[in-house]
Each structure stands twice: as structure tokens, then as C-alpha cells.
């Protein structure tokens, strides 16, 4: 509290009252300054609108990784929730857990499947079936997202695809960075199933 001189100390309301004609002010000028918050509210409103446009209800399904540079595509669709198989130059991971190393795969090139990947994907499928066991409206669609570095050779991608197929995941989504005019929503007729 500041030290004030004794005397009349009317309430601020009376101090500014026009009835007293400023007599109470005693020549003092008010130190209260009105802050114009309207531009701030405008800016915040625009920020909220911009962020709402960016908002995705599904969240981030595929996380960008430093060692995976995705290729670009112009005619992709919006990504869907499904297990993510990430392939970089050194390893293969399913939803963040490493299942195989590329060097091991290169050494046993005679085989087509990747047992650890199959097992992991089967676990994911079992989990899906357990969650949806009382929901007959949900049909198994066998969807899997493959997120690979652009330099990964097809011989690795082929083995991953084969293992996905053996584990029951036949519909494969290749992840790519969208470079077109926005992502198209999945529409009937634009999906491979509909032919």
C-alpha cells in the first residue's frame, strides 16, 4: 500500500463522477489506463480459426522420424488408423518396436517372410479382434500403413508386404508426404476395393 496524505479519499467511482464535475480530482490525473484488447481478441480469434482448420480428430497416426524421409505424392488420401510398419535404412519397427534388422534380412535373402514381423502383426490382429468381439458391425479390413524411407529397396518392402499378407493384412497403405492440394477423403469409387 502506498503512503497517502490524510484527507478525503472518495471511492474511484465518485472520483470520476461527472456529478462532482471533477472536484474530487483535485487536479490529479487518473493513473488508470484502459487497455484496448480488441486487436488481441481479433488475433486470437483468427488463431483459433486457423488451428481449427488444422485440427485432426484422429491425431497424429504416423510420426515423422529423422531417419525416414518419405516420398511425395499428389493424389493420396487421408491416412487412417492402422498398425504402422516403419522401415528405415537399418531396421523395421511396428508401432515403434523394432522387429527386424535390415542387415539380417539382406543376409537371408532366400526367404520372403519376416517371422518377427508376422508375429507382431498377428498380436495386433488378435488385439483388434478382442476389442471388437462384441461389435459385429466392425469388419476386419486388414489395413496396415507402411512408412518407409524413399531409398529403401523394393526387395525389403516386398518382404514386409508378404509378411503383412501372411498375418492377415492385405490392404496396404503406402505413406507419403502430401504435396497436392489437400488430402482427399476416402470416397467410394476411389478405393481399390471398389474397383
Amino acid at each position: 500500500m502506498p503512503i497517502v496524505q490524510p484527507g478525503k479519499r472518495p471511492a474511484p467511482r465518485f472520483l470520476r463522477s461527472k456529478v462532482f464535475g471533477g472536484k474530487m480530482m483535485k487536479g490529479r490525473r487518473g493513473v488508470n489506463a484502459d487497455l484496448n484488447v480488441v486487436p488481441m481478441v481479433d488475433m486470437m480469434t483468427m488463431l483459433v480459426i486457423f488451428l481449427l482448420q488444422q485440427f485432426s480428430a484422429t491425431g497424429e497416426i504416423i510420426f515423422m522420424q529423422k531417419d525416414i524421409k518419405l516420398p511425395e505424392a499428389r493424389h493420396g488420401q487421408m491416412i487412417e488408423v492402422a498398425p504402422v510398419v516403419a522401415i528405415n535404412a537399418t531396421e523395421i519397427a511396428v508401432t515403434g518396436q523394432k522387429v527386424a534388422e535390415i542387415s539380417d534380412l539382406e543376409s537371408d535373402a532366400g526367404y520372403l517372410n519376416i517371422p518377427a514381423l508376422e508375429e507382431r502383426l498377428r498380436d495386433e490382429k488378435k488385439r483388434w479382434e478382442f476389442i471388437h468381439q462384441r461389435d459385429p458391425s466392425q469388419k476386419w479390413d486388414g489395413l496396415v500403413n507402411i512408412q518407409a524411407d524413399r531409398k529403401v529397396p523394393f526387395r525389403i518392402v516386398k518382404r514386409v508386404m508378404y509378411s503383412c499378407g501372411v498375418a492377415g493384412y492385405f490392404t496396404i497403405n503406402f505413406a507419403a508426404l502430401d504435396s497436392g492440394a489437400g488430402l482427399a477423403a476416402a470416397v467410394p469409387g476411389a478405393s481399390p476395393e471398389s474397383g
Binding site: V37, V38, M40, V41, M44, T45, L47, V48, L51, L52, Q54, F55, S56, G59, E60, I61, I62, M64, P71, E72, A73, R74, H75, G76, Q77, I79, E80, I87, N145, A148, D149, R150, K151, V152, P153, F154, R155, V157, K158, M161, Y162, G165, V166, F170, T171, I172, N173, F174, A175, A176, L177, D178, G180, L183, A190, S191, P192, E193, S194, G195
Partner: protein
């Protein structure tokens, strides 16, 4: 600020009542601040697309095809030499690769492929299925670009297989 003036009245001594109203914007600022914090936290900045393909073999179910699609099978092979576009009706088109880049990667002629696929689609407007057959050395980036070209041409039912 949005204020309004009272209409002129006849009486002299009557004081005009101000119509200006002060709106308390503090709750609005609080709400907007919360919204911005939440939206910034949940924002997805990278737009990742998906290119949906079916795989052939490995016990995969046969993709549903119409009679016309069964009548015409379009296969696009890609490898060291470039592209080979062939149909079951006997058409066969070779699009040679442009060479190799500085990093040793194959440089595919994607522009020529786009044109050929568009011509094919014009000749067969109902055709939607195509099988992409890639060699082992083809990179994931090139495969994705070829699938993207197929989708751009209207061939939306892409199946991928190895050679």
C-alpha cells in the same frame, strides 16, 4: 466501438442516456487462450497421405473386378530398363529410363509414363485396375511416384507385386 446515439428529443432539460455498453471481454480472452493452447497441443503439422494398394499373392483375396476389368489386364513393370506398360489386349509400350542419377538411383521418365497412362485411360474409360510389377532394386520412393501417377490417370485400383 459499436455505440449508438439517442434520437433527438424535444425536452430541454432531459439528459440523454448513453447507449454505449462496455462488454467484458476477459472471459472471451480466457476461452480463446484455452482453445489456442489445446489446439496447439493437438495440432498435426505434417500432412501425410496414403496410397492404398492391394498386394497380389501371399494368399491375398482376389480383388473384386468387373467383367470389363477381367477382360483387360494392365500391367506396368518397372526396373533397371525403365517402364514396360502392357495390356492383355496385346498393347506393349516401353518407356526407357533416363539413366542414373548422381547417387546411382534409376531416373524414371515419369512424364512419359503419365502421358501413356492418360492415353490408356482415354481408350478404356472404365478401366480402373492396374498391376505394378517392380524389380527388387526399385526404391520405395520411385514405387510411390509410379502409384501416384496411376492414381492421377484414374487407375485407382492398384495392385503391387514383385517380378
Amino acid at each position: 466501438m459499436g455505440g449508438g446515439s439517442m434520437p433527438e428529443e424535444g425536452g430541454r432539460g432531459k439528459r440523454k442516456k448513453s447507449l454505449d455498453a462496455v462488454i467484458n471481454v476477459i472471459p472471451a480472452i480466457d476461452l480463446l487462450s484455452c482453445c489456442i493452447t489445446f489446439l496447439l497441443y493437438t495440432a498435426v503439422w505434417t500432412q501425410i497421405a496414403r496410397l492404398q494398394v492391394q498386394q497380389l499373392g501371399a494368399g491375398a483375396p482376389e480383388p473384386e473386378t468387373t467383367e470389363q476389368q477381367k477382360a483387360l489386364m494392365v500391367t506396368l513393370s518397372m526396373g533397371e530398363r525403365g517402364f514396360g506398360l502392357s495390356t492383355s489386349s496385346g498393347t506393349s509400350i516401353e518407356i526407357p529410363a533416363l539413366g542414373r542419377g548422381g547417387d546411382g538411383a534409376i531416373q524414371f521418365d515419369l512424364r512419359a509414363l503419365d502421358e501413356k497412362l492418360k492415353l490408356l485411360k482415354n481408350d478404356h474409360p472404365d478401366q480402373a485396375a492396374i498391376t505394378v510389377s517392380a524389380e527388387d532394386t526399385v526404391s520405395y520412393g520411385d514405387l510411390v511416384q509410379v502409384i501416384d501417377s496411376c492414381l492421377a490417370a484414374g487407375l485407382v485400383a492398384v495392385s503391387v507385386t514383385g517380378v
